[in-house]
C-alpha cells in the first residue's frame, strides 16, 4: 500500500486510529438488541399500517410509531413495560392465541415470525431502549475533532468496514489487480474505460503515489462532471421534452451543462443546493445561478387542450414536493398528498406546507399554444462566448440604422405633413336594426358601438341594417373594440377574448326588390392572428378569409388572439362608389361559423369613408393614429407626435433602404438567436394560495390554507416571524443540524462506488427503507462531508482511496456462504454499466467517441418510426450527422415518452419523476441492442479498423490488441481459440459474398477505411461485434 510506505503518514494514521478506537470502541455484543436495527422494521412492517401516523387508518387510537405510543397505556394495560415482557401488552397480544386478541389481526394478512417475537421479548428484557428513527437523528460523531486529512478519513472508513467484517467473521478480499482497479476507478469517476493515456501516466508515476495520482487525474478530468451529472440528472428529472401529452421539445441543455461544470469545478454541495432551489432569490443572481434555479422548472408540463389550469398547477406543485423530498431528503413525502403517511411521521399538512415553498414559482397549468410558439414559461438564453460577441455586433449594427430611422430631417417632416393631409377620414354609421340569429343579445353602447351579451352560442350570424349613408362610399371599416363585460375584455366572446369573422356580406335592398350584393375588395386589417394557424389554408387568420365566399372552408376567417383586449380595424373597399337611393337599406351579414367555444364578436362598430381609392395602400391606421391625425398638429400630445412620426417612418418610401437594412440584420440576429439554446429559469411572483387538499382533490376548496414550513418532525431552528421562502428551504436542507441531506448524499455516492448504498434503499430512508448496514460509517462519512464544506471530490477520493474500494470483486467461498449479498463489503461490487455508459464504452473502445463537453442534445441513430405515436405536432427523429453521432450518451435527446430505445433497454429512466436508483436488469432486448443497433455495429467496424491498422499481423496479436482496447487485458488462449474460429468462418463467408461484406461495412455514417480489404474488415467486424457483446465489456468489476 503506497500510503504505508510514507513514514510520516503512517505515524499520523496510527495516532488517529488510536484516537478513533478510543472513541468508538464500544463492546460489540451480538446479543444487544438495537431498537432501530432490530425492532423497528418488525413494527413498521406489521403494525404501523393500523397503528402508525395515518389518522384515518388508526385503530384503537393506538400509535406504535412514537415513543409516547410505545410506552403509553391502552385502556387496560401498558403497551411496553421495560424489563417486564409479561406485563407488556404488546407482547401479550402478539403471542395471544388466535382470535380477537391476536395481533396482527387476520384481516391484516401479516404474520410475525417466531424469531421476531423472540427479538421483541429480548429487547424488552434488556430494558426496551428506544431510539428515534435513525435517519432523523443527529449525525453521531465518532472522532473528537473532524479529521483534517483526507487520508485519515479514508483510514477511518476502512477501520469501520473492517470492524464490521471482523464481527461477521469475514475479511476483506485481496487487492484487485492493478488493471481491474484502474478500469473500475475510471468507470466510476469518469464513466469511461481506462484510456491508454491514463494507463501510461499511471505507469510513469512513482509507485507509492501512482494510484492516488491516477485518482486525482480522474477527479480533474472534465469527464468527471459528466459522470456525476448522469446520476444527478436522474434525480432532478432532467429531459429534453415536456413529458405530458404531446411531449414537445424544450431547450434545457444549459441546465445539464451547468450541472457538469458545477461538479467539475467542485462547487460545494451546499452552495449547489441553494442555487438549484433558490438561485433566483439570491441577491443579483448571476446567469449561472438563474440556470441552476431552472431545477424547479424541470418537471413535466402540458399543452393538452381541455386541461384545467388549476388541476395541473396542483399536479406540478405536488411533483415538486416529491422531487425535492426525493432528491435531497430521500423521503417519500409524496405519499402524504392524499393521506397522512402510513409509516413515516409526515402528515398531509406537512405535504402541503412543503408545497407552499414552491407556490411563488411563475408558471401556467396549461401551456396553451406552447406546442406552436414554444413558450414554456420563463427562460434565459445562454449563448456561448462566440455567440455573445456576434449578437453584440449585430445589435450595434441595428442600433446604428435605427438612429438614422429616428433622426428627423426637414424633408421627412415635409413628407409627413403631406402624408397626414392625404389620410382618410371615417364617419361612424348607426344601425337601424340589429339581429342575431342564434340568440345573442345585441345592443348599443353609450358611444354607439354594438355590444353582444346574454346567451353565448357556439356560432352566430349578426345582421345589421342601415338606412342612412353618406353618398359615394368608397370603403367600409369594421372596428372591433374591447369591453369589460366580455371574456378577457373582448373584443370577441370566446374565453380568451377572441372571435373569428368567417364571412362578411353586404347587400342593398329597395322595398320588396331582390337584394343586391355589394362587391367588396382589397380587405386589409390592422392585425391578423398567426398563432394556432396550423390547419389554416391562409397560414394565418386572415381578413381575406372573410371575403372568400368560404371557398377554403367556412370555419376560417379573421381573428386577433394575441390582441385580446385591444381595438383593431378591418377595411373593405367597395368596388364602385355606393350611394343609397331613398327607401333603400344597406345590410351587413357577419357570419361567425368557427365554433370551438363561441368565437363570436363581442363589441364592434362600422364606419364609412368617401376618400379616394385605393384606401388600403397607405396601410391601416390604428384608432389611436387615426385620432391623432384628426387632431390639429399643435393640439397633439407628445405621445401622439411620436406615434405618428414612428408610424410614418415605418411606411415612408424615403426610409425604405434603411428599413430594409434593419430588417435583414434583425432577421440575421433572429437566426443566430435561434441557434442559442435557452434554459428554463425560476421567477418568483406573488404566492398562490396553497390549501390542504383532501384526498389530493384539487377541486376541493374547503381545506386549510397553509404557509410554507419544513415537515414538523424534522423542523429545527426555522426562522420565525416571516413567510418562509425556497431560500429558507435550501438553507435548512444543508444546515448543520439537518442530518438527512448529508447522509442521503454520501449514501448515494457510496452506491456509485460499490453498486449498492450503505443503506440499501436509495429512495427511502424512512422507516420502510432499510437501516444502514454500517450506521457508524454512514454517519462518519456524512459528518466528514459536512465538516469539510460539502466537498464532493474529497468525499469521492476518501472512498476510492480506501482498501475497501480497492479490493477484488471476486467472491471468496466464505463470503458467498456467509454474506451472499455482500452486505458487509468483504469484496467490491460487480455490476453492469449504466445505460449511457454502455454505449460510451463501445464508442471509446472503437475510437469513435467525440468527447466534447456540453451543448445541445444530440440524435444518434434511432429506428425509423419510433415516434409514430407522438402528436401535436407529429415528428420524425432525424439522425444527427458527423461528430454529433458519436457523443456521450448523456447528451442524447431525452424524449420522456419515447426515450431512445437503446437507452431504455438498459434501464435508463424516462425522467418523468425523481429516480434515485436505476434497475440493473438483464434482458434479451439488451442483447438485441448490442447485437443489432447500428451504433454498436459501426463501433465494431471502427474497432476492427484500428485493430487492422495498428496491431501486429497475426490473428492472435490482433485479438490481444482488441482485448486490450475493450478490456485492458490480452485474450486468453481459450478465448482466442473461439474468436479465431469465428474469424475463419467469417473470412470464408465474406470471401464468397462481397456484397454482404460491403453491406456490413456501410452501416453507420462513417465511411469504412479505404485502405483495408473489405473481406478482412468485415470478418473482423463480426469478431469485434462478439467482443463488444461480452458481459465483461459492459461490466464494471
Amino acid at each position: 500500500m503506497p500510503l504505508a510506505q510514507n513514514a510520516i503518514v503512517r505515524r499520523l494514521l496510527a495516532l488517529i486510529i488510536l484516537l478513533f478506537v478510543a472513541v468508538t470502541g464500544r463492546a460489540q455484543d451480538g446479543n444487544v438488541i438495537e431498537f432501530n436495527r432490530d425492532i423497528l422494521p418488525i413494527l413498521a412492517d406489521n403494525c404501523f399500517s393500523c397503528h402508525g401516523s395515518d389518522r384515518q387508518q388508526r385503530k384503537a387510537g393506538l400509535r406504535l410509531d412514537t415513543r409516547t405510543g410505545l410506552f403509553g397505556a391502552t385502556k387496560h394495560a401498558t403497551v411496553i413495560v421495560p424489563r417486564d415482557p409479561d406485563n407488556s401488552e404488546l407482547l401479550r397480544r402478539i403471542t395471544a392465541a388466535t382470535g380477537d386478541e391476536h395481533m396482527p389481526p387476520a384481516a391484516a394478512k401479516k404474520t410475525l415470525q417466531p424469531n421476531q417475537v423472540r427479538l421483541l421479548r429480548q429487547w424488552i428484557l434488556q430494558g426496551a431502549k428506544y431510539e428515534g428513527h435513525w435517519a432523523f437523528q443527529p449525525i453521531r460523531s465518532f472522532t473528537a475533532q473532524p479529521t483534517t486529512d483526507r487520508a485519515a478519513s479514508t483510514e477511518i472508513l476502512d477501520q469501520l468496514v473492517e470492524k464490521s467484517l471482523l464481527a461477521q467473521q469475514l475479511t476483506t478480499s485481496p487487492k484487485a489487480d492493478t488493471i481491474t482497479l484502474l478500469r473500475r476507478a475510471s468507470f466510476d469517476l469518469i464513466g469511461l474505460p481506462l484510456s491508454e493515456a491514463f494507463a501510461a501516466a499511471f505507469a510513469g508515476f512513482p509507485p507509492a503515489f501512482a494510484y492516488e495520482r491516477f485518482v486525482d487525474q480522474l477527479l480533474a478530468s472534465p469527464h468527471f462532471g459528466e459522470r456525476i451529472a448522469i446520476w444527478w440528472l436522474d434525480l432532478v428529472r432532467y429531459a429534453d421534452t415536456v413529458g405530458y401529452h404531446g411531449d414537445q421539445p424544450i431547450s434545457v441543455s444549459p441546465y445539464r451543462d451547468h450541472v457538469i461544470a458545477a461538479f467539475n469545478e467542485n462547487q460545494p454541495f451546499d452552495q449547489f443546493t441553494v442555487e438549484q432551489l433558490a438561485g433566483d432569490l439570491l441577491p443579483s443572481p448571476t446567469i449561472k445561478q438563474r440556470i441552476a434555479s431552472g431545477y424547479n422548472r424541470l418537471g413535466m408540463m402540458s399543452a393538452e387542450g381541455g386541461v384545467q389550469d388549476k388541476e395541473y398547477l396542483s399536479k406540478y406543485l405536488a411533483e415538486r414536493v416529491r422531487n425535492a423530498a426525493g432528491t435531497w431528503l430521500g423521503i417519500t413525502l409524496g405519499c402524504a398528498e392524499c393521506h397522512d403517511h402510513k409509516f413515516d411521521p409526515f402528515t398531509t399538512r406537512d405535504f402541503y406546507r412543503f408545497a407552499a415553498f414552491f407556490s411563488d414559482i411563475k408558471e401556467r397549468g396549461l401551456y396553451s399554444g406552447a406546442n406552436d410558439d414554444g413558450n414554456w414559461g420563463p427562460s434565459v438564453k445562454v449563448p456561448t462566448t462566440a455567440q455573445s460577441e456576434q449578437l453584440a455586433e449585430q445589435d450595434r449594427a441595428i442600433e446604428e440604422q435605427q438612429r438614422v430611422l429616428d433622426t428627423s430631417t426637414p424633408s421627412l417632416a415635409a413628407a409627413q405633413a403631406a402624408w397626414e393631409q392625404a389620410q382618410v377620414t371615417w364617419t361612424d354609421i348607426a344601425p337601424a336594426s340589429m339581429r342575431a340569429k342564434n340568440g345573442t343579445q345585441l345592443s348599443l353602447r353609450a358611444d354607439g358601438a354594438i355590444l353582444a351579451s346574454g346567451s353565448r352560442p357556439d356560432t352566430e350570424v349578426y345582421e345589421l341594417s342601415f338606412c342612412n349613408l353618406p353618398a359615394g362610399v368608397t370603403a367600409f371599416r369594421l372596428t372591433v373594440l374591447p369591453d369589460d363585460s366580455l371574456p378577457n375584455h373582448g373584443p370577441g366572446r370566446a374565453d380568451n377574448g377572441n372571435f373569428v369573422l368567417t364571412e362578411l356580406l353586404v347587400t342593398t335592398r329597395n322595398g320588396a326588390e331582390k337584394a343586391q350584393s355589394i362587391t367588396l375588395q382589397n380587405p386589409v386589417a390592422s392585425f391578423e392572428q398567426t398563432g394556432s394557424a396550423g390547419g389554416n389554408p391562409y397560414g394565418k387568420w386572415a381578413i381575406a378569409a372573410a371575403l372568400d365566399g368560404d371557398a377554403k372552408g367556412k370555419t376560417f376567417g379573421w381573428a386577433v388572439m394575441a390582441q385580446a383586449g385591444k381595438p383593431n380595424v378591418a377595411i373593405f373597399e367597395t368596388a364602385a362608389d355606393l350611394t343609397l337611393t331613398p327607401g333603400t337599406t344597406l345590410s351587413f351579414t357577419l357570419e361567425q361559423q368557427h365554433g370551438g367555444g363561441s368565437h363570436t364578436l363581442g363589441c364592434f362598430r362600422i364606419a364609412v369613408t368617401k376618400a379616394q381609392r385605393p384606401i388600403a395602400n397607405a396601410g391601416v391606421l390604428s384608432l389611436e393614429l387615426a385620432a391623432a391625425i384628426a387632431t390639429k398638429d399643435h393640439l397633439r400630445t407628445a405621445a401622439e407626435h411620436n406615434a405618428l412620426a414612428t408610424h410614418f417612418r415605418s411606411i415612408t418610401p424615403l426610409l425604405e433602404p434603411t428599413r430594409e437594412r434593419i430588417k435583414s440584420q434583425a432577421q440575421q440576429r433572429k437566426l443566430l438567436l435561434a441557434q442559442v439554446p435557452s434554459s428554463p429559469v425560476t421567477e418568483a411572483v406573488a404566492r398562490r394560495t396553497v390549501r390542504v387538499l383532501r384526498r389530493g382533490n384539487w377541486m376541493d376548496e374547503t381545506g386549510e390554507i397553509v404557509t410554507a414550513a419544513m415537515p414538523a418532525v424534522l423542523a429545527t431552528n426555522a426562522p420565525e416571524g416571516r413567510v418562509l421562502t425556497r431560500l429558507d428551504l435550501a438553507n435548512w436542507l444543508i444546515s448543520a443540524d439537518n442530518p438527512i441531506t448529508a447522509r442521503v448524499f454520501v449514501n448515494r455516492i457510496w452506491k456509485l462506488c460499490f453498486g449498492r448504498g450503505l443503506a440499501r434503499k436509495l429512495d427511502d430512508i424512512g422507516t420502510q427503507g432499510e437501516a444502514p448496514t454500517h450506521p457508524e460509517l454512514l454517519d462518519f462519512l456524512a459528518a466528514d462531508f459536512r465538516d469539510h464544506g460539502f466537498d464532493v471530490k474529497r468525499l469521492i477520493k476518501t472512498i476510492v482511496m480506501s482498501r475497501t474500494y480497492r479490493q477484488s470483486s471476486i467472491e471468496s467461498r466464505a463470503a458467498r456462504e456467509r454474506d451472499p449479498d455482500n452486505r458487509w463489503l468483504a469484496r467490491q461490487g460487480r455490476f453492469r454499466l449504466d445505460a449511457e455508459l454502455v454505449r460510451d464504452n463501445a464508442l471509446a473502445i472503437s475510437g469513435l467517441l467525440v468527447s466534447t463537453i456540453g451543448g445541445r442534445s444530440v440524435f444518434p441513430y434511432q429506428p425509423k418510426g419510433y415516434w409514430s405515436y407522438l402528436n401535436f405536432p407529429t415528428r420524425e427523429w432525424q439522425d444527427g450527422t458527423e461528430d454529433s453521432l458519436y457523443r456521450r450518451g448523456l447528451y442524447t435527446h431525452w424524449q420522456r415518452q419515447y426515450l431512445h430505445p437503446s437507452l431504455l433497454a438498459f434501464d435508463a429512466p424516462t425522467r418523468e419523476e425523481c429516480t434515485a436508483e436505476r434497475a440493473h436488469s438483464n434482458t434479451p432486448l439488451q442483447s438485441l441492442v448490442l447485437l443489432n443497433d447500428p451504433s454498436y455495429v459501426e463501433a465494431a467496424r471502427a474497432l476492427a479498423e484500428i485493430v487492422l491498422q495498428q496491431s501486429g499481423p497475426s490473428p492472435r496479436q490482433r485479438l490481444d490488441f482488441a482485448f486490450g482496447r475493450a478490456l485492458s487485458r490480452p485474450a486468453t488462449d481459450a478465448e482466442s481459440a473461439v474468436l479465431e474460429a469465428l474469424l475463419r468462418n467469417n473470412l470464408a463467408q465474406y470471401t464468397n459474398n462481397p456484397e454482404a461484406a460491403a453491406a456490413l461495412l456501410h452501416i453507420g455514417a462513417r465511411k469504412p477505411a479505404a485502405d483495408l480489404d473489405a473481406t478482412l474488415l468485415s470478418a473482423w467486424t463480426n469478431v469485434c461485434r462478439a467482443i463488444l457483446n461480452l458481459h465483461e465489456v459492459i461490466t464494471r468489476n
Binding site: 381541455g306 388541476e311 357556439d458 420502510q768 429506428p863 420522456r896 434501464d907 447485437l931 460491403a998 458481459h1031
Partner: protein
C-alpha cells in the same frame, strides 16, 4: 405453423431449435439445458429458462391465463355505442340540467353553455341475451353479443388523455408506476420461451384526432426492465433491433452469438457470477426472438377462411391485422397483449366519426372473439374492450367532450359472465349511478380471474407495499364472474 404455448421440457425445445434449421449444436445445447437446472435466488433473475413469477402458488384458482386488451384510445363515446339513453334523445338541444353538471370537472367545455346531445345512432337488442348495442357494431352484435359482459358504470379519475391512459394502465395518474402487463409478468411470469410476455400493438384510424400515446403506457415503472411491454410494429423491424445487421446472415449471427456465449461461459468458469449465466440465457432468448418474431408476424400460412373472418390479409398495420396477431400471440403463450386503436377522440362530428371508428374495429373484434372461441381459447383468455374515459352527454358543436363520471367497458371470456350487463349511468348517461365500478375495481377483477388477490400482490417501492389497485379501497366485482 402452430407453436406449443410453452416448452415443457428440453426435448420440445430441442425440436424447436432443430426446426429453425440451424440447431445450436449439441454441445452448446446440452450446456444450455444443464444451465436450466441451476437456480438463482433472486426472483427477478430467471431461475429457469422461463421465469414463472413471484406468485407461487396462485392465491386463487385462476380462470384465465392471459389478457387481450383492446384499447379504444381517445375516449370512445359510450352514448353512441354501448349505453343507450332515450332520455338524452328527448332532451336533445335543451340545456343540460345544472343539478347534473354543477361542480363537476369538465375539459374543453369549461365555461360554455351545456346542451344535451342525443344518441347519434340507433340501438338494437342483439343475440339471445338481448344486449343493447348500437347498430354501428353489426359484426359484434351478430356474432358475439352473447359472449359479452358489458359494464356501463365505469368511472375514472382523469379527464385528459395522457393522465387517463396512465391511470387506466398503471392505476395512478403519476408516471413511474408499472403497467398492468408488467405487473402480470412480474407476478405470473411468462409462458413463452421465445417472445416477450407483454406485447403491444398500435393501429391508427382515420377518424378523430390522433392523440399521442406514450410508451409510458407499457413501461415497467419501478419494476425491473425485463417486465416492460414490447411494441410489435407493423412497419420496419417488428421489434426494435430484432433484425440482423445488413450483410450478416442468420448463420453468421448465430456464430457471433455462439462465440459470445462461449466467451461468457469461460468468464463464468472463472467467476461463477449468476449475472453471467443470466446474460447467456438472454442471448439465447434474443437469438430465438430473431426467428420467432418474424415467424409470428408472417400470417401467410393462415387459412383463407380465417383471413376472411378478420377481413385482412395481414401486414397492413390495421386493427383487424393486429387482432389476428393478438390471437397468434395468445396461442404462443404471451401473457398480456394490448392493442391500441388511436381513433376515438371525437370532439366534432361524433356521428360520422364514431361510425367510422366502429367500422374499423367491429369486424376485427368479432373475428378475434369468434376465432378464440373456435379454438377453445376464449375460456382462458380475457378480452377487455374499452377506453381511457367516455364522452359527454353534452354537445361540443356536433361532437362530445371528454367525460370521466360514467362510461362503458366490456369483457369477454376468461371467466367473465357471458351475455350479461352490469351497472348503469343516470338517464342522461352522465354519472355512473348503479353499481359504479372504478378502474381499480376492473384491475382487481382481472387479477382475480388470473388467480391473484390484488391486496396481496405488492412490490416494495419507496418503502410502500405498492399495488396495482392503489391505496384506496377497491373490490373484485363478483357479479361479473361466470
Amino acid at each position: 405453423m402452430t407453436f406449443p404455448s410453452s416448452f415443457p421440457n428440453g426435448i420440445a425445445r430441442r425440436s424447436f431449435l432443430k426446426g429453425t434449421g440451424f440447431g445450436l449444436g449439441s454441445m452448446a445445447l446440452s450446456a444450455l439445458l444443464a444451465k436450466n437446472q441451476r437456480a438463482s435466488q433472486d426472483p427477478g433473475k430467471q431461475s429457469q429458462m422461463r421465469f414463472c413469477g413471484v406468485i407461487k402458488p396462485r392465491h386463487i384458482t385462476p380462470r384465465a391465463k392471459r389478457v387481450i386488451w383492446l384499447y379504444m384510445a381517445g375516449g370512445m363515446t359510450h352514448l353512441d355505442t354501448f349505453d343507450h339513453k332515450p332520455k338524452l334523445a328527448e332532451l336533445n338541444g335543451k340545456p343540460m340540467p345544472e343539478s347534473v353538471t354543477k361542480g363537476q370537472q369538465i375539459a374543453q367545455l369549461q365555461g360554455q353553455p351545456l346542451h344535451c346531445f342525443g344518441p347519434q345512432h340507433a340501438f338494437r337488442q342483439w343475440g339471445k341475451s338481448g344486449q343493447s348495442i348500437a347498430e354501428i357494431w353489426p359484426h359484434l352484435g351478430t356474432m358475439c353479443a352473447d359472449d359479452l359482459c358489458i359494464v356501463r358504470s365505469l368511472h375514472t379519475d382523469a379527464i385528459n388523455h395522457d393522465p387517463a391512459h396512465t391511470f387506466m394502465n398503471t392505476g395512478t395518474m403519476n408516471a413511474g408506476r408499472p403497467a398492468m402487463g408488467s405487473w402480470l409478468q412480474y407476478g405470473l411470469g411468462s409462458e413463452c420461451d421465445n417472445l416477450p410476455g407483454f406485447v403491444v400493438l398500435v393501429s391508427t384510424g382515420n377518424f378523430g384526432q390522433k392523440q399521442p400515446i406514450a410508451a409510458r403506457q407499457w413501461h415497467s415503472g419501478f419494476l425491473p426492465g425485463q417486465y416492460q411491454g414490447v411494441e410489435f410494429r407493423s412497419t420496419g423491424a417488428p421489434v426494435l433491433y430484432v433484425g440482423n445487421p445488413n450483410g450478416v446472415s442468420t448463420a453468421q449471427q448465430h456464430d457471433v452469438v455462439s462465440a459470445v456465449r462461449s466467451l461468457n461461459e469461460l468468464a463464468d468458469q472463472r467467476l461463477a457470477d449468476p449475472e453471467i449465466q443470466t446474460r447467456v440465457r438472454q442471448y439465447e432468448l434474443a437469438f430465438r426472438m430473431q426467428t420467432s418474431v418474424p415467424d409470428l408476424m408472417d400470417v401467410s400460412g393462415e387459412p383463407s377462411h380465417v383471413l376472411d373472418l378478420y377481413g385482412t390479409k395481414g401486414g397492413d398495420g390495421s386493427f383487424a391485422a393486429n387482432c389476428l396477431l393478438a390471437r397468434r400471440l395468445a396461442e404462443r403463450g404471451v401473457r398480456f397483449i394490448q392493442l391500441y386503436h388511436r381513433d376515438w377522440d371525437h370532439h366534432g362530428a361524433v356521428k360520422e366519426h364514431s361510425a367510422g371508428s366502429a367500422k374499423e374495429v367491429d369486424r376485427g373484434v368479432a373475428a378475434l372473439i369468434t376465432d378464440l372461441k373456435q379454438r377453445g381459447m376464449l375460456d382462458d383468455t380475457i378480452v377487455v374492450f374499452g377506453s381511457e374515459f367516455g364522452r359527454t352527454p353534452m354537445a361540443q358543436g356536433d361532437g362530445r367532450d371528454h367525460h370521466l363520471a360514467g362510461f362503458t367497458m366490456w369483457f369477454a371470456g376468461g371467466g367473465f359472465k357471458p351475455g350479461f350487463s352490469y351497472g348503469a349511468t343516470d338517464e342522461l348517461g352522465y354519472h355512473a349511478v348503479e353499481n359504479p365500478c372504478s378502474v381499480h375495481d376492473v384491475h382487481a377483477t382481472l387479477l382475480h380471474l388470473l388467480g391473484i388477490d390484488h391486496q396481496r400482490f405488492t412490490y416494495k417501492y419507496q418503502g410502500l407495499d405498492s399495488k396495482l389497485t392503489g391505496v384506496e379501497e377497491s373490490v373484485v366485482v363478483r357479479e361479473l364472474l361466470a
